[in-house]
């Protein structure tokens, strides 16, 4: 029977891989410092300074994109993995007969989720010493704050499945515990939820970095998420935004928006690839 609606799972998976490769692999080739300015190439369009054009000092925007990728890649992926792992824990707790652990997790979730996330993130950013500022502590804080929601949703999926009774039923069919938990529960049932939550966290951390860096750039302050020698994707948006003030920086805005779009698309494709059958 032909499956109705939605994109082909394999196609979505392939596109997701391409998006992630586009976003994160270039970070491995990011230069430590930007190239020296060439003022003659200020705001050079891609045709004049291939492949992506130049900034206000004639430095290639490609280096901005590469450095931005290196700033977000590892912290965002680690945050996503942490949320996925904690989501799995939440789902497995739903298959356990003991109610105590579940109650403790729910209680912790209430406490952790009681404050606006950005407030917690800014307080964490404030407390990280200036010389060791990076996105990682902020990303992990965001992941911890996102985890209760992921755990709750995974727990609800496990509960809908039948929880401990589902495990007992499969045990009665002769399946091993490893197979039940790893394949049936995590692989088949929790996968759509925990992977989606994980990849959404990746997207949120990338957007958070762009947001925080943009705010710092706007106030001409050092960023809270990376060193002064690095550029973020937010710098592209800031540079590009000046197109509204008649500065010829439309190519920077287009590049910044394209990168944001690829992040969002990657999330959509992953979600589509891992959806339940």
């Amino acid at each position: 029977m032909r499956r109705q609606g939605g994109m082909n799972r394999w196609l979505a998976g392939g596109l997701a891989l391409v998006c992630f490769a586009l976003l994160f692999v270039p970070g491995l080739f990011a230069p430590e410092h930007l190239a020296p300015p060439i003022l003659d190439l200020a705001y050079a369009p891609p045709s004049q300074l291939p492949p992506l054009g130049g900034d206000s000092s004639g430095r290639p925007l490609l280096e901005y994109a590469l450095q931005g990728a290196s700033v977000v890649a590892l912290p965002a992926l680690l945050a996503g993995l942490l949320v996925t792992a904690l989501g799995i824990v939440g789902g497995l707790l739903g298959c356990d007969t003991s109610q105590r652990a579940e109650a403790v997790v729910q209680g912790l979730g209430e406490v952790v989720g009681a404050l606006p996330r950005m407030v917690v993130v800014l307080v964490v950013a404030l407390l990280v010493p200036k010389e060791s500022r990076s996105l990682l502590p902020i990303a992990l804080t965001w992941a911890v704050l996102s985890a209760p929601g992921a755990m709750d949703e995974a727990n609800a999926v496990a509960a809908r499945l039948g929880g401990a009774r589902f495990v007992e039923a499969l045990r009665a069919h002769g399946f091993s515990r490893w197979r039940i938990y790893l394949f049936h529960i995590i692989g088949l049932n929790l996968r759509p939820v925990v992977v989606r939550q994980g990849v959404e966290t990746v997207m949120q951390v990338v957007f958070l970095e762009i947001g925080l860096s943009y705010l710092a750039v706007q106030d001409t302050q050092p960023s809270l998420t990376h060193g002064d020698s690095e550029k973020s994707w937010a710098d592209l948006l800031y540079l590009g935004y000046q197109v509204f003030l008649d500065v010829p920086s439309g190519h920077a805005l287009a590049l910044g928006l394209a990168l944001v779009g690829v992040v969002a698309l990657a999330t959509v494709f992953v979600t589509s690839a891992v959806r339940a059958r």
Binding site: P116, L126, F207, Y214, V260, A264
Partner: protein, 313 residues
């Protein structure tokens, strides 16, 4: 559930604890930073009088002394003076000036969420719209804020703070806050899925057969969960307000917190975090009140129904 009062009670306790615990945690973290707080604010090699400053701001006798002094002042509305952002200016003054802007922004942004949720609950908003809302919701607040800021800059200039410009900023900011980061789509799909799941319950099917309305049957049972979702949405809006306020240039609580963070003004950050935790506490209390009201309502015997009396043998 017999012990229905536990959850609301825990929420009220958490609401009372938050404004006390958050400044305490921040204070302890400030003292855990390398170097004493007075030297961080005023390094002896750059500015003189670090010791006097520490004495004036009660930083010289450890975190507990500082915390108790600060808390005592905060509870009476005195948050001390700004350390670095606007040195000498009372933080309370900055706080009172910023709260109305943030409140206005969040309330305005919450209106479309509330309307969308209500329409989804009543099945007026078709499910087909979800895709569009989700696509719009994928846009980060920073991008939509840029568009809003550009619109304001083009019409009123980069640093316009007069009445009309501020009203436009507030409306555009609220629109950005309501649409970006899946705020509206999350509210609509969340409420819809909650009610759809409840509609499939057996008791609702029986109620329909008895000619009763669906909403009057389902609503009391899902109102607590909806209140929880709405609290989460409001927290989400408060969180996003930081980015929107800074980019669109609205002098709200989020902007104050951001400026305090950038300038390492612990006095401002403590007060702003206290303000946010107090707001979160109010939201927790509101959720608890909804839960209590719902529990009382569902435990009340229906009109015209008399409790069975044990018949004499």
């Amino acid at each position: 559930m017999k012990r229905w009062w536990i959850r609301p009670l825990v929420r009220v306790m958490a609401a009372a604890l938050l404004p006390i615990a958050v400044p305490l945690v921040i204070t302890l973290f400030i003292w855990s930073l390398p170097g004493d707080p007075a030297s961080i604010v005023c390094p002896p090699e750059i500015c003189g009088g670090t010791e006097e400053l520490a004495r004036d701001w009660h930083l010289d006798q450890g975190p507990w002394h500082f915390y108790l002094w600060w808390m005592q002042g905060a509870l009476s509305g005195d948050f001390g003076n700004s350390w670095r952002l606007q040195p000498g200016v009372p933080v309370g003054e900055l706080l009172w000036q910023s709260i109305p802007w943030t409140a206005g922004l969040v309330v305005l942004a919450f209106v479309p969420l509330l309307i969308g949720s209500a329409l989804a609950a009543m099945r007026v908003l078709p499910k087909k719209v979800d895709g569009v809302l989700q696509a719009v919701g994928l846009t980060p607040a920073v991008v939509l804020s840029l568009i809003a800021a550009a619109a304001v800059t083009l019409k009123y200039g980069a640093f316009a703070y007069d009445g009309e410009a501020m009203r436009v900023k507030l409306v555009l900011g609220a629109l950005v806050l309501g649409l970006s980061d899946q705020a509206l789509s999350g509210a609509v799909t969340g409420v819809r899925s909650l009610l759809e799941a409840e509609r499939n319950q057996r008791y609702v099917q029986i109620a329909i057969l008895r000619g009763e309305s669906v909403l009057s049957n389902t609503l009391p049972n899902v109102l607590g969960a909806i209140a929880g979702q709405m609290r989460a949405r409001l927290l989400h809006l408060l969180s996003g307000a930081v980015i929107v306020e800074v980019i669109v240039r609205i002098d709200g609580l989020g902007d104050l917190l951001w400026q305090g963070t950038l300038s390492q003004d612990f006095g401002v950050v403590l007060a702003a975090a206290f303000g946010f935790s107090a707001l979160s506490g109010v939201l927790l209390i509101l959720q608890a009140l909804v839960e209590v009201g719902t529990a009382m309502h569902t435990r009340r015997a229906p009109a015209g129904f008399e409790a069975p009396v044990a018949e004499a043998a």
